[in-house]
């Protein structure tokens, strides 16, 4: 029984990380139809920002966390402004060519950001301390990592906040309007350029929070985002690209199934679980578990 509880706690916390990363992907995809392959690098860069603030500059953890998140927001908006917008608004390219060029641009960004990270950090591995001085808490005979508990709490709070943000705030409603109908949004005076910047910033914040929370568990290195990107894509596919809470549930489901699969079937198969989920979902339920089929008038 304790083993099941242990597996559940680890599976849920891993799943929350996948969900957070997946959410960043979904936000950008819903806004502009772009699968952002550089999202894993935003996850990595934010974790390193927290490392600089906390370990190198000696700033307290909570403040370092906030600095890193602010860094993520700025980085996300800069990426949109400098690398995505000039391509997506280039009328010289046809529509299909523009779509391909933007996706390729995110691939280029992925390689560039990773390469830039290698300049100061090399390829050695660093450790960001956890939020709490006590690494574990014991409930009965169940031992749970305090960092994992934090991940679960932050992810749950963030899901609620983002849902409220889209439902209640003016900016959230403008983002939804822009993602549903860009021409309509422009006609009613929404500055879609600003909306896209804000969307990329928010997406980077989601990925960045996951990066800072995951760093004490998985170590920091320039390649740390690549693996998480795949897990985030799988979570988004499983939950459905159209639903904020669906992505989180998809991530959690993936985390749980993955770890139980590893424990009771084959640990060697754990890492191929994410690509299998992507393929199976795309084949049999492309809208994901919680997404709705989108009807397109032709």
């Amino acid at each position: 029984m304790m083993e099941i509880a242990t597996l559940l706690s680890v599976g849920v916390s891993n799943g929350c990380l996948y969900g957070l990363v997946g959410l960043g992907l979904v936000l950008v995809y819903n806004a502009q139809g772009i699968p952002n392959f550089a999202h894993g690098e935003l996850f990595m860069a934010t974790a390193f920002a927290a490392y600089v603030a906390n370990v190198i500059l000696g700033i307290p953890y909570a403040l370092s966390f906030l600095i890193a998140i602010a860094f993520a927001a700025v980085l996300g908006m800069l990426v949109e402004f400098l690398a995505i917008r000039p391509i997506s608004t280039n009328r010289a390219l046809g529509r299909a060519s523009t779509d391909v060029a933007v996706v390729l641009s995110t691939v280029g960004l992925m390689i560039t950001i990773k390469g830039l990270a290698r300049i100061p950090w090399g390829d050695s591995v660093r450790k960001l301390p956890g939020a709490f001085s006590t690494e574990t808490v014991t409930i009965g005979s169940l031992v749970i990592s305090t960092q994992r508990l934090l991940i679960i709490v932050v992810a749950a709070v963030l899901t609620v906040c983002i849902s409220l943000f889209f439902a209640r705030t003016s900016l959230g409603k403008k983002m939804r309007a822009t993602s549903q109908n860009i021409t309509g949004a422009k006609l009613i005076g929404i500055n879609t350029g600003h909306i896209y910047s804000a969307t990329w910033g928010l997406a980077a914040v989601c990925g960045g929070i996951a990066g800072v929370l995951a760093a004490p568990i998985i170590f920091l290195h320039p390649d740390m985002g690549t693996r998480m990107l795949l897990k985030g894509f799988a979570a988004a596919c499983l939950g459905g690209f159209g639903s904020v809470s669906g992505v989180f549930v998809g991530g959690i489901l993936m985390g749980i199934v993955e770890i139980f699969f590893g424990r009771y079937l084959a640990t060697s198969m754990m890492d191929i679980f994410a690509p299998i989920i992507i393929i199976v979902v795309l084949l049999f339920r492309p809208q994901g578990l919680f997404g709705a089929r989108r009807a397109v008038r032709v």
Partner: protein
């Protein structure tokens, strides 16, 4: 007069013949001039295995730098051309071909990962290019038949035997499980480990795989716990080893762990940042002593002299013994250097001090594995400590 003329003609003919012979030797063996010997180095300078890139290359370079500062070998200084192979076979092959064809190096000194070096082996043997392996541990790289490729540190399979022999001396160890990666670096170790455990009458419970880039080892730890082993052999790269040890400590898996040479105890301690998960940990090492031991001091000083910015870490000296052997062979050949003479000289090296390595170097024409002894380190009072002098 006639005899004087004949003598002069004979001398001229001899000189011309010698010059032609010398010229043809140089044409046949690129990379040698009157003042330089060009050596091509390659390693994983970037990518996930970069830990074994610059640190190991610089650990070899410092030997070449030192010899250059001392005037070179037989009047020739060593000139290095360095390429990045990222531990990927296609890149390693491309790097080797570039070094051989475009840079026209005399020999190769490189290779950080077995999977990447194996295709290079075929090229080196086909082209008859002498090669010293930098840090790749796979046995098959240096396996016979092989006329040109040498290694001067403990090969991969040997630490499996050392681990088994070490565990046989531990009290109350009867059942042993392996936890490790399933890449080429790790796979080379399992067959010898299993056979050596059986030779030592220890039960082998099998292998629990862990991914190279694992971020969580809960499933592995719980699976291992369910099998109730007396000891664990850890054959995983540093990142995965650190993750496993942290999760093992968290989940109460408290049995002795012995790591292969793919990890270094001090490096693991730095990564984990807490000696507790490593209290029961040992690793097989290439070296004579831990880094703070007296035998390592001259090599650390040398590294600091030539590469002061490099971190003093175990990986820094993996390539050193290879460079020591190369320099020794080049010296033995003398000024009339050719590739064939070089490999002959390499094969004749016996009893050469392996520098930082726990072995003396002994090569033969039919055995190019120069180093067959390692050491075992453990944590004692939170400090990395050598357990015994050396293990075979």
């Amino acid at each position: 007069m006639k005899s004087t003329l004949a003598s002069c003609m004979a001398a001229l003919a001899l000189a011309a013949s010698a010059a032609m012979t010398s010229g043809s030797a140089r044409a046949a063996d690129p990379g040698i001039t009157d003042t330089t010997i060009k050596i091509g180095m390659m390693g994983s300078l970037t990518g996930p295995a970069a830990l074994w890139g610059w640190p190991t290359i610089n650990g070899a370079r410092m030997i070449y730098d030192k010899i250059n500062d001392e005037g070179g070998i037989n009047g020739r200084k060593i000139e290095l051309v360095i390429e990045d192979d990222q531990c990927q076979a296609p890149l390693a092959l491309a790097a080797a071909k570039k070094l051989i064809s475009r840079d026209e190096v005399f020999m190769l000194h490189g290779g950080s990962c077995t999977g990447a070096v194996l295709p290079v082996r075929d090229v080196a043997l086909k082209e008859k290019i002498p090669m010293m392996v930098l840090v790749a541990t796979g046995d098959e790289i240096v396996a016979q038949p092989n006329g040109y490729i040498y290694r001067a540190f403990l090969p991969g399979s040997y630490d499996g035997k050392i681990i088994a022999d070490f565990l046989a001396t531990a009290p109350n160890v009867k059942k042993v499980i392996a936890v490790g990666n399933t890449d080429a670096i790790a796979n080379v170790r399992y067959p010898v480990l299993e056979a050596s455990l059986k030779d030592n009458k220890l039960e082998y419970l099998g292998l629990e795989p862990i991914e190279v880039e694992a971020t969580d080892a809960t499933a592995q730890v719980l699976k291992v716990k369910s099998q109730n082993p007396d000891a664990i052999v850890l054959v995983a790269r540093p990142e995965a080893s650190a993750v496993f040890l942290k999760d093992a400590a968290k989940l109460g898996l408290d049995v002795p762990v012995v790591g292969a040479t793919v990890v270094d105890l001090q490096d693991l301690l730095d990564r984990i940042g807490d000696p507790k998960p490593m209290a029961n940990m040992h690793v097989v090492s290439f070296y004579k002593s831990p880094l703070d031991g007296a035998p390592m001091a001259p090599w650390i000083d040398l590294l600091k002299k030539y590469y002061p910015k490099d971190k003093v870490q175990a990986a820094a000296f993996y390539g050193t013994s290879g460079a020591i052997a190369v320099v020794e062979a080049l010296k033995r050949v003398g000024p009339d250097l050719t590739r064939e003479k070089f490999v002959k000289a390499m094969s004749e090296i016996k009893g050469l001090d392996g520098g930082p390595m726990a072995c003396t170097l002994n090569f033969a024409a039919d055995d190019h594995e120069g180093c067959k002894t390692g050491s075992v380190w453990g944590m004692r009072d939170g400090k990395v400590t050598a357990i015994g002098e050396s293990w075979k």
